[in-house]
């Protein structure tokens, strides 16, 4: 099966969108541009405004400011029914009094999109086949399992061939094993449909595995937009650096002296970044980019707090000054808790530096705040 060509009408743009509830600001200054056929994830901790943003794209909530475009159409004040979108809810929102067949057929039977019954039947059956639901179409939602409900919700979204799919934490009610399975099914479906999909999750592994583009949000603002690789390798600020990765990037705060970054128990050479003597700078190192340094004068000196053996490697927590950092070290190393340990970056180019006060990355073009 060849991948369908993206249709320019399937693009989505949010322009400076904001939402207030009374005096409380839920989200503000949201600018996102989504290309047709992209899989885009809104990622962030709960309460960061990602669901509000999705609801505004769906038309379930009205933005307090800004514009929302689908294709070249301004849909800011358009009713949900007229946006030609499909949405999968966290709770699946299956209609309890309808069979699975009726649930999946429901979007095609509205007055707006009255579809001839033979076509309804054909589409329901083909969606059911794709999702492995053929044998249970006459059952009711309460009679099937969580994973099956999830598929029905997807089926209901698919039969419409909408311009955009919105998925609000669709996997969060499934158990771990099923979640991983549905994750790859979802990716497969996206590739087969070639549709624009906008996905909300707080689970970074879902975001990283599924997305072309990830929008990291916190406190109602966008922290960074980029491909999973960009976000991981080159976080725009300290929030993204700490948030992505399991565990997140280690951050060490220091002061620039003689072209080096120094702090309690560490000392790095600074690469070619704009920093002046006396600047407060934070260094970021991924746990897997640290290695043991047996020299007398290692880049980082610390005390081993705990060691978690993970089979292929060990996760070692090391106290450095007042902070605790983490490092993935070979499992063969026998490291007793309480021992002194020296660490250094295995590849200094992979280190990232941030302004301690603003949190901004020194590797990104500086934006004026706001």
């Amino acid at each position: 099966m060849t991948q369908p060509k993206p249709n320019p009408a399937q693009s989505v743009r949010l322009m400076n969108v904001g939402k207030n509830y009374g005096a409380v600001c839920a989200v503000s200054g949201i600018d996102i541009s989504i290309e047709p056929g992209q899989f885009v994830t809104l990622l962030g901790p709960s309460g960061c405004g990602k669901s509000t943003t999705l609801n505004m794209i769906a038309g379930l909530e009205m933005p307090s400011e800004g514009r929302i475009m689908i294709g070249d159409r301004d849909v800011t004040a358009v009713k949900p029914a007229d946006r030609d979108i499909a949405m999968v809810f966290q709770s699946y929102a299956l209609y309890p009094h309808m069979t699975l067949y009726e649930n999946i057929a429901f979007p095609m039977r509205s007055r707006r999109r009255r579809t001839p019954e033979p076509e309804v039947n054909r589409k329901v059956l083909s969606a059911a086949k794709m999702l492995g639901l053929e044998s249970m179409l006459d059952r009711f939602p309460r009679q099937i399992s969580g994973g099956q409900r999830q598929r029905v919700a997807l089926g209901r979204a698919m039969v419409r061939t909408p311009t955009v799919y919105l998925l609000d934490e669709p996997l969060s009610n499934l158990d771990q094993q099923l979640r991983v399975q549905m994750r790859s099914e979802l990716k497969d479906i996206h590739q087969r449909l070639g549709a624009t999909m906008l996905y909300v999750t707080h689970d970074q592994s879902e975001a990283m595995t599924l997305s072309d583009l990830v929008v990291v949000m916190s406190n109602g603002r966008i922290e960074q937009v980029g491909s999973p690789r960009e976000l991981y390798n080159n976080p725009a600020n300290l929030f993204v650096a700490r948030f992505l990765g399991e565990p997140g990037m280690n951050i060490l705060d220091g002061v620039v002296e003689n072209g080096r970054l120094r702090g309690a128990d560490f000392d790095f050479a600074l690469p070619e970044v704009a920093a002046n003597a006396g600047d407060r700078i934070s260094a970021g190192i991924r746990p897997e980019d640290l290695q043991r340094d047996p020299r007398d004068n290692p880049a980082i000196r610390g005390i081993v707090r705990t060691v978690e053996y993970l089979g292929s490697r060990s996760l070692v927590r090391v106290g450095v000054g007042e902070r605790t950092i983490t490092a993935f070290l070979p499992p063969s190393d026998d490291i007793p808790a309480g021992a002194k340990i020296g660490l250094s970056p295995s590849d200094p180019d992979k280190m990232r530096f941030f302004q301690t006060d603003s949190g901004g990355s020194l590797h990104h073009p500086q934006k004026t705040s706001g």
């Binding site: 769906a58 038309g59 379930l60 009713k79 949900p80 029914a81 946006r83 979108i85 499909a86 949405m87 809810f89 709770s91 929102a93 209609y95 309890p96 009094h97 429901f106 979007p107 509205s110 007055r111 707006r112 999109r113 209901r156 419409r160 919105l166």
Partner: protein, 273 residues
């Protein structure tokens, strides 16, 4: 021991059932006995020579029109209360409404006011408005009696229907009104049926409101007509019991049909009234 207590329990239940249904069955039996057999000693449990003469007598007195009046009033009142009540109940769970706590208090307070206690001023107000002794007055008053209850029941049921179901329907291409009609109302069917049953019983079983708000014989409710009939034919027990039977069939039938919803609503506490 266990068998003994089980037997005792069954006997007690049988006795309870006889006490509950016995008088009603006795009335049914009486209504089919010819007048000269009614006082037979010892009493005939089953009429030896059944007759429908008492029912014919009621028909000759025009009681069937009162039956139709009662039915019409009750159906109209239930319809008004369910429509206005479910609309209000929906709005109270889904829309910002100015003064919501005060409005809820009004509905709750209205449920606590016994309709009978305000009958006198209601009669005077109805007279002042020219509604006394019209066909419209009883449906309006009955609807007012059962409305707070209908609002309360539908509201608490709508609150349990996730907002996301409607949102899903709106995204699926339906208007808000269509979403309510196709998703919310079918979901609230148990609550609506419970409210309708309770409301119908209230209206049909009323006597005091019917006897004080209308006067004309052609506007009378069945209950009022039976009391008038009793006034003229006080000792005609056969005909009176025939009246009891026809006045009992509709509410008991409705109760039996919808008891599941009514009992369910009361038992899980979603109905209090």
């Amino acid at each position: 021991m266990k068998i003994l207590s089980r037997t005792l329990l069954l006997l007690a239940c049988l006795l309870a059932a006889i006490v509950a249904l016995g008088p009603i069955l006795w009335a049914v039996s009486t209504s089919f006995k010819s007048t000269n057999r009614i006082f037979a000693v010892p009493p005939e449990i089953v009429p030896q020579i059944p007759t429908t003469q008492h029912y014919s007598k009621l028909a000759a007195e025009g009681v069937q029109w009162a039956f139709l009046n009662s039915t019409g009033y009750a159906v109209l009142a239930v319809l008004i209360a369910l429509i206005l009540g479910s609309i209000a109940g929906y709005a109270l769970t889904r829309y910002p409404v100015a003064g919501k706590p005060a409005i809820l208090l009004v509905f709750l307070g209205a449920m606590a006011v016994p309709g009978f206690a305000v009958l006198l001023p209601t009669q005077m107000l109805a007279t002042g408005l020219g509604l006394y002794n019209t066909w419209a007055i009883l449906p309006i008053i009955y609807a007012g009696h059962i409305l707070p209850f209908a609002v309360w029941v539908t509201r608490s049921h709508f609150a349990t229907i996730p907002r996301e179901l409607e949102q899903a329907a709106e995204i699926d291409g339906y208007s808000r009104a269509e979403a309510v009609w196709k998703i919310v109302l079918p979901g609230a069917k148990p609550a609506l049926l419970a409210a309708a049953t309770f409301g119908f019983l209230h209206c049909w079983n009323d006597y005091v409101t019917g006897s004080t708000m209308v006067d004309s014989p052609n506007l009378r409710t069945l209950q009022v007509a039976l009391i008038f009939f009793q006034g003229f034919h006080g000792r005609d027990w056969g005909a009176l019991m025939a009246g009891v039977v026809i006045a009992t069939i509709p509410p008991v039938l409705i109760f039996l049909l919808f008891r599941k919803f009514l009992i369910g609503g009361f038992a899980d506490g979603s109905i209090k009234g």
